[in-house]
Structures are given as structure tokens and as C-alpha cells.
Amino acid sequence: MRHRTLTTILAAGVLVLAGCGGGGDDSSSGGGPGGLSVPKIDKLASLGAGEGTVNIIAWAGYVEDGSTDPKVDWVSDFEKETGCQVNTKVAGTSDEMVTLMKTGEYDVVSASGDASLRLIYGGDVAPVNTDLIKNYADVFDGLKDKAWNSVNNQPYGVPHGRGANLLMYRTDTVKPAPTSWSAVFDANSPYKGKITAYDSPIYIADAALYLMKTKPDLGIKNPYALDDTQFKAATDLLTEQNKLIGEYWSDYTKEVQAFKSGDSVLGTTWQVIANLAAADKAPVEAILPSEGATGWSDTWMISSKAKHPNCGYLWMNHIISPKANAGVAEWFGEAPANKLSCAETADKNHCKTFHAEDEAYFSNVWYWTTPLAQCVDGRTDVTCKDYAAWTQAWTTIKG
């Protein structure tokens, strides 16, 4: 009896709400695998008056209004000048950003390359009319019209900054100093159990990049375009690597702390993490290994369903203005996107430390790009593994 009543209630709930479940997210169209077409969305033709509000999804530290530290503020002036009240939602991962953008509640997003194509092909973001964004002209050319922010030469956002996924090691334990990613894949590594790696499916690209240089037979041309054989080689490498891993990291407090205590001595990192660890007197060094590296470049994009498009455009223009861009780049720890920003940073060495103007350095960097079934390296004779497959493979690798 008792059990039946529960089932009755559950069943009744299903009946009542199964009818209401629909109607959520069938707004934009999209072809199935194979027919890869960008949903047709118009870009904003001209800038109107601000709507009084702009809802932003951003990485922690991208939108600072002085509430964290009164000195760190590039929002208040914007609000005063434009009358656009800024509401921010901080996302923890690229995946979360995509999910949040699908809700249609937000106007702009600071999407990394592992999210941007998903947003573009999902019809969640609109193409950007760069004529309406004055500061776009001053963005480094190395960041414009790239695979992760543009389709058919049409920009879908404005570049925000960039960085590489470097190899960091403790100088007191790791000897000789590594120069290659082989250090983190060596099955006989003396640092077994103290190696760390980035905790995301996109890390599969790091293995692919390594294989691209060391196993030319596989024919990998782009670490984000992997067919079945290539993908298997990369995931096998990572499954082997899992035995060496002490922990995977995703937030930088965790990584800095692990390197300082010596729980991790070798692994991927960001420049900012290396700087912080060094500032706290940990004996660490970060290098760009001989194979090059993966990296990220974030793009401010505007929602196709934006309720406040004008404020959204005003924000995109503001955030890449030299002063604001410099502020973010320093606070977050990355290379700014605007050429004029380097003159505005408080630390005059900032652009040098982060290689902002060093195009040769960044030419060795493969920026995060969403893996799609239609290979992003242009091959048409095979199907590549898409991000959903990468995600499930990552689960399996971690075991």
C-alpha cells in the first residue's frame, strides 16, 4: 500500500508535467551532423540608445565593478557613461557558459574557443557588426578573423585577450629542466603521482598536439580535428598518462597551492598561475615546450536573443578599449587584445611577461576550438569526433 501511493504520486506528476515540459528551447534551427550551416541571424545594423541594462556571462575577474577591490573597477565608469546597468553571472567552465547562453537571459558572454563555435552553430550568438565597435580597429591582427571567432570572414565577436597552456615544473625537483611535453607523458617518469593536467575534455587536444609532432604517421593536422584513429591514439595516450597523474586541476588556487606544497611538480599551467606561484616564493618555472602548446583566446559575443543589444554593443566596445582591456588583462593575468592597452598597464612589463606583442610566440599556439563532426581542419573525407564524444571520452580516461 505504502509503496503504491508513492508510485501513484510519481506517476501523476509525470502526467501533469509531461505536457508542460515542452516549449523550452526550440527557438533556433540547426542542421544535423553533416549539413553544417550557420543559422541565419542578422547583425545589428545601427546603434540605438542603451536599454538601461546589460546581462553578462563572464569568467571570474572579467567584469569588476570595484566590489572586490575598490581599485579594480572598469564597470562603474561604463555604467555612468552609458546608463547601462551591468549584471554579471560568473561561469566556472566553458560548458556552463554555453548552457547559460541557451537560456536567452543574457546579452553578452566572454566565450573561450572551446565554446564559441558551439554558440555560433547553435544559433545562440549573432554575428557582430564591427563597424559599430570603434575599438575593434586596434585589436592585434593575430586575433582577428580566426577559426574560433569568425565564420566565412564574418566576426562573431570581439577578441578579449589570449594566453597559452604552458608547462610548469618545480625547479628544485624536476631535473633536468623539461623542454618537451614528453615530460608529462613518459610512462617511466620519476615524477609519477606528482604530475598534473587540466581537468577538461579540451585537454585531449594537448595529447593530440604532442602526437602531431611525435607521431607524424597519424597525420594530425589540427589537434581539434581528430578522426577515429587519431582520437583513439590521443585518448590512449591520456589513459596511460592517468597513471602518472596526482590530480587534475581546474581552478588556479588549487594549482598554485599544489605546486607550492609539492603535491604537484610538473604539468600544464597558465602564465598567471606561474606568476602567482613565483610571487609566493614557490620555485617554479613555466615554459612553452618545443612542440608548441594549446592556448585560449576569449571572445566577447552577443546573444542572438539579446534583450539589450545596444548596451551589449556598448559593452563590447568598452571592454576592449585600451584602459579597460589593460585593466582586465592585468587583473586576470593574460595578454590583452588591444594594441594600445600595453601603454595603459600599471605594470609596464605586463605585455612583455605575457608575450602580448610577440606574434612568433603565439604562432606556436593552437587556440582552443570546439571540435565538430565536420573536421575543423577542412578534411571532408572523414568525420571527426565532436565535443560530446570528447566529453564522454574524458569521463572514461579519468575512470
Binding site: R2, L6, V14, L17, G24, D95, E247, K254, T391, T395
Partner: protein
């Protein structure tokens, strides 16, 4: 029979209205809105996601469940998660019983008040801050390493930290159960010649079973669903909560996440129906 219950089989017209007035709002909230939301989520487990656009395809498919049933990794993670939850629950019981007993039966009433405060206070310190404090404690060369050694980051660390986080939720119901236990019962048992341990096993423990189960609902379910602690101190391990969380966002695969979420939901519903016979649900 409970005191005060209206035992008439048929409710009078006025009583019936009173009952309807009392129950309608809560049932609308929990019975319809909450269960409905859960039901929709579970239904979506039978859907799939278009790999390109991330749009949900609303066609019935068993694909998600097939993946979970056939891929070894999901079975391993489920077993690992249940193992962690059971370990946490057992350790919490072992720690909570003597502590609650001391509070309820040994300490003076004045000390008792302070002890209750001492147990409740940590509930207000942020979960995340506590988990991070443990990360520091368990670190290589950390404060613990120099005193008693550290297991390092991994499943053992996860069990320790989860035990730490949920221990008060086990102590409180057991303490409440002991408080209701008349001292005379203990004395009677002692008078009859039972030793402390015997009294405990023969008299106290049976009465406390519902309270222990009540506490275990918290420790078990909170451990089973956790995905943050394991990220902070779990080294390279993942639990079932991580898989749900990864898939909610990753490729925006809500249907697959929902399918994985079915696993802890089923485990919990089975667990709840099993322990409710003991009256545990009234002891929370």
C-alpha cells in the same frame, strides 16, 4: 495510535475543508511542482542531443541508458560513489554515537548547552572554506603531514572531508533520540547487572535505530551527490556527481546528465523506502 488524531473514518464536511486548506499549498508545491520538475527531468533522460547545435531532440531513445549500462566506467563510478557514501555514513555513526551519548547523558546540563552550540557552529562556516581548509591540512608538508602524516589527495581524503562536513547532521538526530531516552531505562539495565557495553547494545542501540537512520539519510545522500569536495581533495578521482555536473554543461547534454542522475535517484528512493519502516523519516 497517535494522540490527537481524528480517528473517524469519514471526515466531516468541515474537517474535510480544513484538511484541504492545510494540504493544498504544500502539496501543490512539493507534490506537483517539485515532483513534476523531477519527472520532466527523468523523462528527458530518454531524449538525445544534436551533436552540432546542442538542441535537445525530443524523440524517445534508450541510447543514454544503453551507454550507461554498457560502458564500464559508469559502473565503476557508481560503485565508487556508493562506497564513499557508505564509508562516510559508517564513520559518522561510529563517531557520532559516543559524542552524542556524552552530550546527552554524561555532560552536565550547562555543558550540554555549550556542546550543542559547539556542534552547530561549524554548520555556518562555508562548506567550501572548510573543504579548502582540509586541502591545506592534507597537503604534502602540510600541518597534518608533520604530525600524523597525510594520506594525500584521493578517495581517502574525500571520505575524511565528507565525514567532517556531515558529522553534525549525524550527531544531532542521535543526540535528540538519546535525550528522549529516559535515564531510568539505563539505570534499570545497570541495576539488572548489565555492563555499560551491554546496556548500550541491548537497550540504547535498538531505540536509537530510527535516529541513526535519520542521520544516515543526510550523510548518505549528501555524500552520494557531492561533486565539489572530490574536486578539491579527490586527486584524480571522480564520483557520480561529477559525471552529472560534467554532462549538464559538457556539450550541454542535459538528457545524458538526466540519465546518469537516475542512478543516485533510484539508489536514494530505494534507501528511503527501506529505512522509512523504522520510522526514520520522522526523526530527521
Amino acid at each position: 495510535m497517535d494522540p490527537g488524531v481524528d480517528n473517524d473514518q469519514g471526515l466531516g464536511g468541515r474537517r474535510r475543508w480544513q484538511l484541504a486548506a492545510l494540504l493544498s499549498a504544500p502539496m501543490l508545491w512539493l507534490g506537483v511542482a517539485y515532483l513534476g520538475a523531477l519527472a520532466v527531468l527523468l523523462v528527458s533522460a530518454f531524449w538525445t542531443v544534436n551533436g552540432f547545435t546542442g538542441e535537445v531532440v525530443r524523440e524517445f531513445s534508450l541510447q543514454n541508458f544503453r551507454t550507461i549500462a554498457t560502458e564500464e566506467v559508469y559502473r565503476n563510478v557508481t560503485l565508487r560513489s556508493v562506497g564513499v557514501a557508505v564509508a562516510v555514513t559508517v564513520i559518522c555513526v561510529v563517531l557520532a554515537l559516543p559524542m552524542a551519548f556524552y552530550m546527552a547523558k554524561v555532560a552536565s546540563p550547562r555543558t550540554r548547552g555549550w556542546l550543542v552550540i559547539a556542534i552547530l557552529t561549524p554548520l555556518w562556516a562555508s562548506y567550501l572554506v572548510k573543504a579548502y581548509a582540509w586541502r591545506v591540512l592534507l597537503a604534502n608538508d602540510g600541518p597534518l603531514d608533520s604530525v600524523i602524516g597525510t594520506p594525500g589527495y584521493g578517495l581517502v581524503a574525500v571520505v575524511i572531508v565528507l565525514t567532517y562536513l556531515w558529522l553534525p547532521y549525524m550527531i544531532l538526530p542521535i543526540y535528540a533520540g538519546l535525550e528522549r531516552l529516559p535515564d531510568s531505562l539505563l539505570e534499570a539495565s545497570a541495576d539488572l547487572g548489565a555492563r555499560g557495553g551491554r546496556t548500550f547494545r541491548g537497550v540504547v542501540l535498538p531505540i536509537l535505530i530510527p535516529s541513526i537512520f535519520a542521520g544516515s539519510i543526510f550523510t548518505f545522500s549528501l555524500s552520494l551527490g557531492d561533486y565539489i569536495t572530490v574536486q578539491i581533495v579527490g586527486g584524480k578521482s571522480q564520483l557520480i556527481g561529477n559525471l552529472v555536473y560534467a554532462n549538464v554543461g559538457a556539450a550541454n547534454n542535459l538528457p545524458f546528465a538526466a540519465a546518469i542522475a537516475c542512478v543516485p535517484v533510484i539508489i536514494m528512493v530505494v534507501y528511503l523506502t527501506a529505512v522509512r519502516r523504522s520510522g526514520a523519516l520522522e526523526e530527521l
